[in-house]
């Protein structure tokens, strides 16, 4: 589904991602771990289509098409979803209006009829239950004045509405208490299907107790320095990043 080959990315002349390779197949869950500043969010942004990065080398294929040529909105309509590490506050734009517009633009792109207001509201109620967000939240402006937990739940809620084929969740777990974490993980698990895939970017192995990954990768200074199964996350938690660093150098 997603195939990244030898990707090298820089920002303002500084190389952030160095020759990265990653294969994600339908039905899989991948976890990307790594210390702060290693390039995890940059990788997520490049896949989602943010345009303040320079791709120096390599390619990113999504279902066989060159993703890097597509504007962010087309990627979204093709089924890519980025759960932001820092969801943006947009005063004055209500979540309901935003999501209805987003969903209908996607449907139009896919050749489907737009949802009517009533249909949309019904769908929204369903999804709200699923991610356990209280009803008033969707009336409010996007992320404005939300607590950390509310912001993250709102990301999962948007994901539930848009039903992406490839979801990248950038530290959706950080700053969540255990209950919120369970809600977020529960949402992700409910949305798992054989024909979609999830990449969870996380700092802690904690989330991976709830969202069990098929593959774990460690990103360090722009390289994937180690890949393995879910047990790699546990090992990392125990021994810390220093261990991997030494191991790779050795």
């Amino acid at each position: 589904m997603l195939s990244i080959k030898n990707l090298t990315v820089s920002i303002k002349g500084k190389t952030i991602i160095r020759g990265l390779n990653l294969e994600v197949k339908e039905g899989e869950v991948h976890a990307i771990m790594g210390p702060n500043g290693s390039g995890k969010s940059t990788l997520a942004s490049v896949i989602a289509g943010r345009d303040n990065y320079e791709v120096e080398e390599g390619e990113v294929l999504y279902n066989g098409q060159n993703l890097l040529e597509l504007p962010a909105e087309t990627r979204a309509r093709e089924g890519i979803f980025l759960g932001f590490q820092y969801p943006v506050e947009i005063p004055g734009v209500s979540i309901a209006n935003f999501m209805r517009t987003a969903l209908n633009e996607k449907r139009k792109y896919l050749g489907l009829e737009p949802l009517t207001g009533a249909e949309f509201l019904k769908l929204m109620e369903e999804k709200k239950k699923m991610v356990d967000i209280h009803s008033k939240l969707t009336n409010r402006s996007v992320n404005e004045g939300f607590s950390g937990g509310e912001k993250k739940k709102n990301e999962i809620f948007q994901m539930a509405l848009l039903e992406p084929r490839l979801a990248i969740l950038d530290e959706t777990d950080s700053g969540l208490d255990i209950d919120a974490l369970k809600v977020v993980a529960g949402g992700v698990n409910k949305l798992r299907r054989n024909d979609n895939a999830t990449v969870v970017i996380t700092h802690y192995q904690r989330l991976l107790d709830y969202i069990v990954p098929d593959h774990v990768h460690v990103l360090y200074e722009g390289y994937i320095i180690k890949s393995g199964g879910k047990e790699l996350a546990l090992e990392l938690e125990e021994k810390g990043y220093e261990w991997i660093k030494k191991e790779t150098v050795a």
């Binding site: 943010r50 909105e73 943006v88 506050e89 947009i90 004055g92 309901a96 987003a102 633009e105 949309f120």
Partner: protein, 460 residues
């Protein structure tokens, strides 16, 4: 232009002075000598530094001191079927009050609404008690010019304790085959504990060059409440200068909201004196300008008494080579303790060529006050743009959504729901590039087709 006007005055003074009260004519004489001395404001004056009138004054303007449009059938040129906004609708055509039955109406509750020219004949004492008291012709050149030539406009008098239920809508239409120079004059008085809402719409129906220089005086006595809305949707070739003078006493509340949807050249001057404690003044403004439009909002507020409050919020979106100017001055005098004053101007520039000059300014001589001011000039937040696009919104839709949201903060301040919905719809239309200045009345939208409003969940 100054000499032309002075000559014209000499020739036409009988028509101009007409049936005005002796006091008004004395006021006129003062104003005229001020105009003779000061002329038009030049860019040397701080408050006009970025707004240059001089290129607009080269036209051979036509003046109508005798109400030549009197016999025009207003329904033939302008229909305003406001369908969910129930208002008293009054019309000025080329500066003159247009009426079907009577030029001046006295409602059963004592409210007087109608032509100022007629009011000077029928209620000279009421007019004389207020007119010119707030309009400072010494400090404001354009107000002096208006006063020197004043003939007609709107007169509203709301007696003590009366709440005027329906908003009063004044539609100021410019419709002429030739370049007209108009100077309407409005006088609005809310007596003790009175309550009224005025919606003042400025339109041009033709693309001809025109110049409008309006003075509006608003008086709110103790405990009165006045909501004043201006909706400006003028053609590219029109110049509009509005001079609004507000004077309020104890416990009164004045709220003003100036929405500029289009305008070739617009300068809105607000001068507001608060002379009673526990009074509250609110001034809001929204300007959406493109091509080479120019809009300037100047707001001067004088807290001349302890314990009053003022709030200002002006926001603008500038496209193409449009220019906007904001200058606000809040004066808190030495004895005006416990004043609360907030002032904010925010601009979004959509292009590199658009330009905003903003100068918020507080002049505080008291020490026990709560004041704040701020100004920003920037672009649409790129992080927010990416966030919206990452959910599948195209760039255009994302921009529109952010602009509507930005403008919404000012629109939200409109307290009448029907008017708020109407203006919010117009603003959306404007930001989608679908509002033309030929859409007749801004307060109706030519078609009655239901529009795709955002979902209001509170109503479900």
């Amino acid at each position: 232009m100054k000499d032309t006007l002075l000559d014209l005055y000499r020739k036409e003074q009988d028509a101009i002075r007409g049936k005005a009260t002796p006091l008004v004519n004395r006021m006129r004489d003062h104003a005229l000598s001020r105009f003779r001395k000061n002329g038009f404001p030049s860019t040397k004056k701080e408050s006009w530094r970025f707004t240059d009138l001089s290129p607009l004054l080269n036209t051979d303007f036509v003046f109508d001191f005798r109400n030549k449009s009197k016999n025009m059938d207003i329904d033939k040129i302008f229909t305003c079927d406001v369908y969910d906004l129930d208002t008293f609708s009054l019309t000025l055509l080329n500066g003159w009050y247009v009426y079907k039955n009577a030029p001046l109406t006295r409602l059963s509750n004592g409210t007087i609404i109608g032509s100022l020219a007629k009011a000077m004949e029928v209620y000279p004492d009421l007019v004389d008690e207020y007119i010119g008291k707030a309009a400072k012709t010494e400090a404001y050149e354009m107000a002096a010019l208006n006063t020197a030539f004043l003939q007609d406009g709107l007169f509203i008098y709301v007696p003590e304790g009366v709440k005027v239920e329906k908003p009063i809508q004044l539609i100021n239409i410019v419709n002429a085959e030739y370049p007209v120079f108009l100077q309407p004059r409005h006088l609005i008085v809310a007596q003790k504990d009175a309550d009224l809402t005025i919606v003042h719409c400025d339109h041009s129906l033709t693309h001809n060059v025109s110049f409008t220089n309006t003075v509006t005086e608003v008086y709110a006595e103790k405990g009165a409440r006045v909501d004043h809305y201006k909706v400006q949707n003028k053609g590219r070739n029109s110049a509009l200068v509005t001079n609004s003078f507000f004077h309020q006493k104890e416990n009164s509340h004045i709220s003003s909201n100036i929405i500029t949807l289009n305008g070739g050249f617009t300068k809105n001057i607000v001068d507001h004196t608060i002379s009673g404690s526990a009074a509250h003044a609110e001034h809001y403004g929204l300007y959406l300008v493109d091509s080479n439009q120019h809009v300037d909002n100047q707001v001067n507020i004088d807290h001349a008494t302890p314990g009053s409050r003022s709030d200002q919020l002006f926001k603008g979106i500038l496209d193409d080579e449009a220019k906007a100017v904001f200058s606000g001055k809040v004066m808190v005098r030495r004895h005006s303790q416990q004043t609360e004053a907030h002032q904010n101007n925010r601009n979004i520039l959509l292009t590199d060529e658009a330009k905003a000059n903003t100068q918020p300014h507080l002049e505080i001589y008291a020490d026990d006050v709560k004041c704040s001011h701020g100004a920003t000039v920037g672009q649409l937040d790129p992080d927010a743009m990416f966030y919206l696009r990452s959910r599948g919104l195209c760039e255009r839709t994302a921009r529109q959504m952010m602009m509507v949201a930005f403008a919404g903060e000012v629109v939200k301040k409109i307290s009448i729901e029907a008017l708020r919905n109407r203006i919010s719809h117009l603003v959306e239309k404007r930001l989608k590039g679908e509002l033309s200045i030929c859409d007749q009345c801004v307060l109706h939208c030519n078609s009655k087709e239901p529009t795709a409003f955002n979902i209001d969940l509170s109503k479900l």
